[in-house]
């Protein structure tokens, strides 16, 4: 097994066991690999692969949502101990996230934890936010990617209005949706006009990397 996959495998076992000591040890090892020429992104790749694996196992039914949440939370806490003040790369793509309409923000919290642990800064627009408020924030901030989390079906339908209004304003922000309605109805993201969908929180880092590397005129895609 290549070293990346081996470390990610051990990290998955550690987070699922909620073994903070083991998680810290593995992340220090991966950061040492980075420092020894493994590439700056190596530690982030280990973390991203591990959390994506956890998310995939949730989608297949092997893991529960509580395990995904506790894993992401543990990783974020450990990374905050190891890197209290992450350095922003120059020209970094700006990402924003919102829990649209719904006040329950568990999904958003999990995604934010994963992205924070992977060193991807995100502007949090909060939970229970209306379409009007989101459009206003996007007009001001002009993020490259807006991650939209919903729990209830009516909130998922509101994404359609959100996307239409952003396009009417010629804003280039790509909208990525996620949450229970989009998992229960895998094609719903196309009907609401989103640019992409994530079926589990662990997909977030890969989706962001894929989108920010794309021509913004490109068609929507499932990543």
């Amino acid at each position: 097994m290549a070293i990346l996959e081996e470390m990610a495998f051990r990290l998955v076992q550690a987070v699922l066991a909620l073994d903070r000591v083991a998680v810290r040890q593995i992340m220090v090892e991966s950061m040492n690999v980075s420092a020894q020429g493994g590439g700056v992104a190596f530690a982030g790749d280990v973390l991203s692969l591990a959390l994506r694996t956890v998310g995939e196992q949730w989608l297949t039914g092997a893991l529960a949502l509580s395990q995904v949440y506790m894993s992401a939370r543990l990783c974020e806490q450990v990374m905050q101990e190891l890197i209290p003040c992450p350095v922003r790369a120059q020209g970094e793509t700006r990402i924003a996230m919102v829990s649209l309409i719904d006040r329950h923000a568990l999904g958003k919290t999990i995604v934010l934890s994963i992205l924070a642990a992977c060193g991807i800064p995100v502007v949090d627009y909060g939970a229970g936010v209306s379409v009007d408020e989101v459009v206003g924030r996007v007009q001001t901030d002009r993020p490259d990617v807006l991650l939209v989390s919903t729990l209830l079906l009516p909130s998922a339908f509101c994404v359609k209005e959100l996307c239409e209004r952003l396009r009417a304003l010629s804003l280039q922000t790509r909208v990525v949706v996620g949450g229970a309605p989009f998992v229960l109805d895998p094609e719903l993201w196309t009907r609401v006009g989103a640019d992409a969908v994530g079926y589990s929180a662990g997909e977030a880092p890969r989706i962001i990397q894929a989108l920010t590397g794309l021509n913004k005129e490109g068609a929507g895609l499932r990543v």
């Binding site: 909620l18 949730w58 039914g61 893991l63 529960a64 949502l65 509580s66 395990q67 949440y69 506790m70 309409i101 719904d102 006040r103 329950h104 923000a105 568990l106 919290t109 209830l152 079906l153 009516p154 909130s155 339908f157 309605p181 229960l184 109805d185 719903l188 009907r191």
Partner: protein, 339 residues
């Protein structure tokens, strides 16, 4: 020629694992009642007479086999001091959690039902809907799932994993409230209750954790209730814990969204009735023809020998489901009598 049963007789046959004149079906309406009575959602949910009229109008139109006395989940939170947010096109939702610190659990006591206008309205609704011919189905949040609203989802998960003693204290209080609230509904005339317990699903917490927590809670709660109960996981997965649910005292179990009824029936082995599992999410985009096809499929899988009630998977028909889709479902069920 088969004798035509009343809805009550049909549902009783299904719960007793006997064949009726046809498979009973539940259309679990909440918000649609406002549509047919011409009320705003806020006004509708604040008036038991309107809610009763809405249920009766819908039952007359679609011919389904229950009146649904569920108002909205946040009504229970109002009893605990919480606020509810009403919107124009979706279910009322609970506002901020009522418990803002761990320490509040230490001195928590269950609220008095008599002090809650929202719960008194629900009891009034049940009383207005009482009938010998149509069952009245109420809803109670399980003590194990209620903390999602009491604490917020994230804080509750942290409690579950990190504060076992406070979790036990919270469950003690919640069980007492649940038992009192459920039995008040039976006393008011409810025929059966949905025991709403989404956190029990292995999609939300792993089975081993459920067995140490929510399963113990269900086993301590359900035997104290004065009527039949259907355990409902709000469309989440049930299959890995069906055998566990069977020993809680539940009379019925609602299948998760997309779960295979044939497989569930094999595991149920007549120990409980299955309810479900038309996809409420998919209903929003079905054509009437698709609705008929899905209904036929589930009727075939659920079987006509009792032990099955056709219903949606979530426990509440989404407001965006067109009435003609529901007409198609109802018509297909009625046509099944003649096959």
């Amino acid at each position: 020629m088969k004798t035509v049963m009343t809805a009550m007789q049909r549902v009783e046959a299904a719960l007793s694992h006997r064949a009726g004149d046809r498979v009973p079906f539940f259309l679990l309406f909440t918000m649609h009642g406002a549509q047919v009575t011409g009320c705003s959602l806020r006004d509708y949910f604040h008036d038991a007479a309107s809610m009763a009229e809405g249920q009766r109008l819908l039952q007359r139109r679609f011919g389904h086999d229950c009146h649904y006395a569920f108002t909205y989940a946040a009504a229970e939170m109002e009893a605990w001091g919480g606020e509810t947010l009403f919107v124009d096109d979706g279910p009322p939702v609970s506002a901020a959690p009522v418990l803002r610190s761990w320490e509040e659990i230490d001195s928590l006591a269950p609220p008095r039902l008599a002090d809650s206008p929202a719960l008194q309205r629900a009891l009034d609704l049940i009383a207005r809907l009482q009938s010998p011919d149509v069952p009245v189905v109420g809803v109670v949040m399980s003590p194990f799932s209620l903390p999602i609203m009491q604490l917020g989802f994230e804080t509750y998960l942290q409690l579950l994993y990190e504060q076992p003693e406070r979790f036990e204290q919270l469950m003690r209080v919640n069980i007492e409230f649940c038992v009192e609230w459920a039995n008040a509904q039976f006393a008011a005339g409810a025929t059966a209750l949905c025991y709403f317990d989404p956190v029990a699903s292995p999609a939300i917490v792993p089975r081993d954790l459920y067995l140490r927590t929510g399963h113990r809670v269900a086993c301590a709660t359900l035997p104290r209730l004065h009527g039949p109960v259907a355990t409902h996981l709000a469309s989440a997965r049930t299959l890995p814990i069906l055998d566990d649910l069977a020993v809680t005292g539940t009379t019925a179990v609602a299948a998760g969204n997309g779960e295979d009824l044939v497989e569930l029936r094999r595991i149920a082995r007549g120990r409980f009735t299955l309810v479900g599992n038309l996809s409420g999410v998919d209903m929003t985009w079905w054509t009437p023809e698709q609705a008929r096809a899905e209904t036929r499929d589930l009727l075939a899988k659920g079987g006509g020998t009792g032990g099955f009630i056709l219903a949606d998977s979530h426990g509440e028909i989404p407001f965006h489901v067109p009435l003609e889709v529901l007409d198609a479902i109802a018509d297909e069920v009625r046509c099944s009598v003649h096959r």
